[in-house]
Amino acid sequence: MHVISPMCTILQFVMRLLVLITFCFALSSCEGGLAPPPPIELGFSGIVYFTPNAWPPSDSLFNLLIFASQIYPLDSAKVVDGLFQTPYTIFVYPSLTQSLPLDKADSISYSFPLPPGTYKYVGIIQQINPDFLFRGIRVFRVVGFYKDSTNLSQPGSVEVNDREQVKGINIFVDFQNPPPQPF
């Protein structure tokens, strides 16, 4: 009669266990490993902070937009060219006909899609007049801009690259004490 020794039994158990463990590990290789991340939106993002209780009345707040200009300083001709002539050098968010929320919140987070480039002047504009074509009267005014960390009176540049979104572009808006207008 063939007798199986305890050592053989243990060995068989250990080997089966090893085969099982390896098989489980091998199965997990079907997960796939690394994968390309979902497409990223190039541009920059951040938070717009509003000074509490300083929101203007609704008859002087028709739209609120973020702008990013590759040109600075500006004049009215450069603004028109930058907005409407290709290659565009001035961009607005959400668009010339849409607005950031006007619900008098303390802050709004945003994500501004932009082509790569250096944006020398970034800020918030308030549309104070309902008609774009209202000649002779100011339609927009700057109510806040992204500041140079070393000189808070000057605009800070934002470098947008083709690899990732630039984060942390935070802008402070005080409707009652707007900064000097660019022109």
Binding site: M15, L18, C30, E31, G33, P36, R163
Partner: protein, 737 residues
């Protein structure tokens, strides 16, 4: 200490005896019991003498100059059970025929190795962990370069082409290798960057590769901190032989459209051919190779041409001279790292037109003579020349030329059956001319001795020591680098065999690495980023102390277990540290590290060798003691498993390797290079599978194979920002007559 050491050297040479006794010879043929196929590469060793040889491709061997007497003769080959013929009588001036058939096994308890003690010995007599890779394994895995062949060796982890034994190496892209590579016992490290030139190793001529784990500078000198890899090339056979191997691989389509950059499927194709013959005492071998890897990545195309030759002459039955040459030309796209994980098969924009061209080659000479029954003397020399340049859109950026020469004289003295003394002298010269490293000469010399004593049949003791002197100059032999030139590295080993199936071992060894010329003198602004690399000629050599205890046990007749516990202490590890404020990289001695771990290997064969299994698991605990954190670029767990089935002329194998995620990396390197998504890494689990069919029974001396590498198309990185190969389908054909 020094005088005792010199005294032992003197005693060694005084013991040398030059008498030449009456001798006989042995010849014969080795074959596989089951298939009757001739076995190449079988080690034939006359126990208690210095005589040994290996079989050629026809399985034949001839061993001349065996002293008259009665000996045990051992025949061993990896993958086969060793066989010892007892009490074979050798008569003067007569030749005896010994034909032996070996039985296949997964168990390799008694194979012959040469690296651990600089002489042929049974694996059971070695006090350190040793693994081997055979030429058959290389062919079965369609391994085109040596680094590829090492991917299933227990305790070895490849970071693309950088070898890492038990966690010895971090991220250096091969510069300053902490593993020493040898070709037939001579160092094979580039003179400028101290890296291993993998692609120049003549893969088709490899008989076997031995991997010795742990510090090995007591025998081999600089670079042997983490271990030693010895590539042993095939001997020229007794009869004419033509061999070839052709392969073609097809990269699969990536699973993700973002990575599918090529409109056509990419191929990896190559071939080797060699012819050898022996006319009387003169043997010759010539070999050529050609490889084109179109790559699965953009700007990563690889072209290689190679020529190899070996000439061998027997002056007498106990005296031979071997001369070999090897030259390789290579053109390689410069894919340094990816553009981003989203575009992982495209290089960063700065590398899109880059290319590295190199011409590398070596000439080596080996003279061996058996001076008496007791003394074997060998004189070996190697010259290794290395030229490379990197181009960007046709514009040459950097160039480097290095010349490295080493001469090694060694004597092995068989004092008695139980007492062997080995000793030798080394000298080397290195000269580098480069626009980024500068022009620097280096000179080194060393003396070593090792004593092996078996006070009892079951106990074997080994002790050895090596003194190295190395110096590199800033200018032509003026202003030497401040690096300490002198190193003394001892080793001690013990093997205890309480029974025929049990071996216990313990070892202590020290290692060191003299900084490479590139680490000492590089001065350049890198092309791939704008970071400056600045020189530091105050570097100290890296040092290591390795301690290991282990044992092996046969369990029944079909299971072999090997276990080791190890601790490697590293001092003054050199790292290329990034200074983020000055945008500079400088190599400095920054790290004191300790790596502890264990390694377990179990091999078994089942159902009368129908199936063989091979498991190994290595755990390491890599601690950077300077900062009390986990050492960067190390994986804690390595699990390798292989399963091979044989049925008549068919062999099928499945190999699986699982390596845990690298826990920490150098974040500054990722941020400043910059390597976009360079921190992206996963544990990897890769399956390779293949079948080979031998047509020898159909009257054709051919075998054909089909292999799928990375069967599940698992995506991972071994090196930051470098996606490892996709699933690839290979067909191969190998033949010889």
């Amino acid at each position: 200490m020094k005088s005792a050491f010199l005294y032992s050297i003197l005693i060694f040479f005084l013991h040398v005896s030059f008498a030449q006794p009456n001798t006989g010879s042995i010849r014969g043929k080795l074959s596989d019991t089951k298939t009757q196929k001739p076995l190449a590469g079988v080690n034939v060793l006359v126990r208690g003498t210095l005589r040994g040889t290996t079989t050629d491709a026809q399985g034949t061997y001839r061993l001349k100059g065996v002293p008259a007497g009665v000996f045990d003769i051992t025949f061993s080959l990896i993958g086969y059970t060793s066989q010892t013929l007892r009490h074979i009588a050798i008569q003067p001036d007569t030749s005896i025929q010994l034909d032996v058939a070996l039985v296949q096994t997964a168990i390799e308890a008694d194979q012959v190795v040469v690296t651990a003690s600089r002489r042929e010995q049974s694996l059971r007599e070695v006090p350190v962990s040793v693994s081997t890779v055979t030429s058959k394994m290389i062919a079965d895995h369609v391994s085109v370069t040596l680094d590829d062949a090492l991917r299933y060796v227990p305790g070895v982890n490849m970071m693309q082409d950088q070898v890492n034994i038990r966690g010895s190496s971090g991220y250096s892209r091969g510069v300053g290798s902490r593993v020493l590579i040898l070709i037939d016992g001579l160092p094979y490290i580039t003179g400028d960057t101290g890296e291993i030139p993998w692609e120049t190793i003549p893969m088709f001529q490899i008989d076997r590769i031995e991997i010795v784990k742990g510090a090995g500078s007591a025998l081999y000198g600089s670079s042997a901190l983490g271990g030693v890899i010895n590539v042993i090339t095939k001997e020229i056979g007794e009869t004419s032989e033509m061999r070839f191997r052709l392969f073609s691989g097809l990269y699969d389509t990536p699973r993700y459209a973002e990575w599918d950059w090529s409109p056509t499927r990419r191929l990896n194709t190559g071939g080797f051919v060699s012819y050898s013959n022996r006319v009387g005492s003169f043997g010759y071998l010539i070999s050529a190779s050609r490889m084109v890897d179109e790559s699965y990545r953009l700007n990563d195309v690889y072209h290689r041409w190679g020529l190899y030759s070996k000439l061998n002459y027997y002056f007498s039955e106990s005296q031979s001279l071997t001369f070999s040459t090897n030259i390789q030309w290579r053109k390689h796209g410069n894919f340094f790292w990816w553009k981003s994980l989203r575009e992982a098969t495209r290089p960063a924009d700065t590398q899109i037109n880059g290319e590295v061209n190199s011409t590398r080659g070596n000439v080596s000479l080996a003279y061996k003579t058996i001076l008496s029954d007791q003394v074997l003397f060998s004189l070996k020399a190697i010259y290794y020349g290395n030229f490379w340049q990197d181009n960007d859109a046709g514009h040459v950026n950097n160039t480097a030329t290095s010349h490295f020469t080493q001469v090694d004289a060694q004597a092995t003295y068989l004092i008695s059956q139980d007492h062997i003394l080995t000793g030798g002298l080394d000298a080397n010269y290195d000269y580098v001319i480069s626009d980024i490293f500068g022009s620097h000469p280096g000179v080194g010399a060393a003396v070593y001795v090792q004593d092996e004593l078996a006070p009892f049949q079951s106990l074997k003791l080994t002790a050895g020591i090596r003194y190295d002197w190395q110096r590199v100059w800033k200018e032509l032999f003026s202003s030497p680098a401040a690096t300490s030139p002198a190193q003394l590295n001892p080793k001690i080993g013990l093997v205890f065999s309480p029974g025929p199936t049990t071996t216990l071992r313990a070892s202590y060894g020290e290692g060191y690495r003299y900084p490479s010329i590139s680490e000492l003198f590089t001065s350049v602004t890198t092309g791939v980023s704008q970071i400056k690399i600045v020189p530091n000629d105050n570097l100290r050599p890296e040092r290591s102390i390795a301690v290991e205890i282990g044992g092996s046990q046969m369990l029944g007749e079909r299971v072999f277990l090997d276990m080791a516990l190890f601790q490697n202490d590293f001092y003054d590890l050199i790292e290329g540290g990034v200074n983020p404020t000055r945008f500079e990289i400088q190599f400095t001695n920054v790290t004191r590290a300790r790596i502890r771990g264990l390694e377990i290997g179990i091999k078994a064969d089942w159902w009368n060798r129908f199936l063989t299994t091979d498991f190994s698991y290595t755990y390491i605990d890599p601690i950077d003691l300077s900062r009390d954190v986990v050492l960067t670029f190390r994986s804690r767990h390595l699990l390798y498993a292989s399963l091979t089935a044989h049925y008549r002329q068919l062999q099928a194998n499945v190999d699986f390797r699982s390596v845990s995620r690298v826990e920490t990396i150098d974040e500054n390197l990722v941020r400043l290079a910059p390597i976009v998504d360079g921190d992206q890494r996963v544990a990897y689990k890769v399956i390779d599978a293949g079948i080979t069919y031998d047509l020898i029974n159909a009257g054709l001396p051919l075998s054909i194979g089909f292999t799928v590498k990375n069967l599940t198309n698992y995506y991972y990185v071994e090196l930051l920002g470098n996606l490892s190969p996709l699933r690839t389908y290979y067909v191969s054909i190998e033949g010889g007559w």
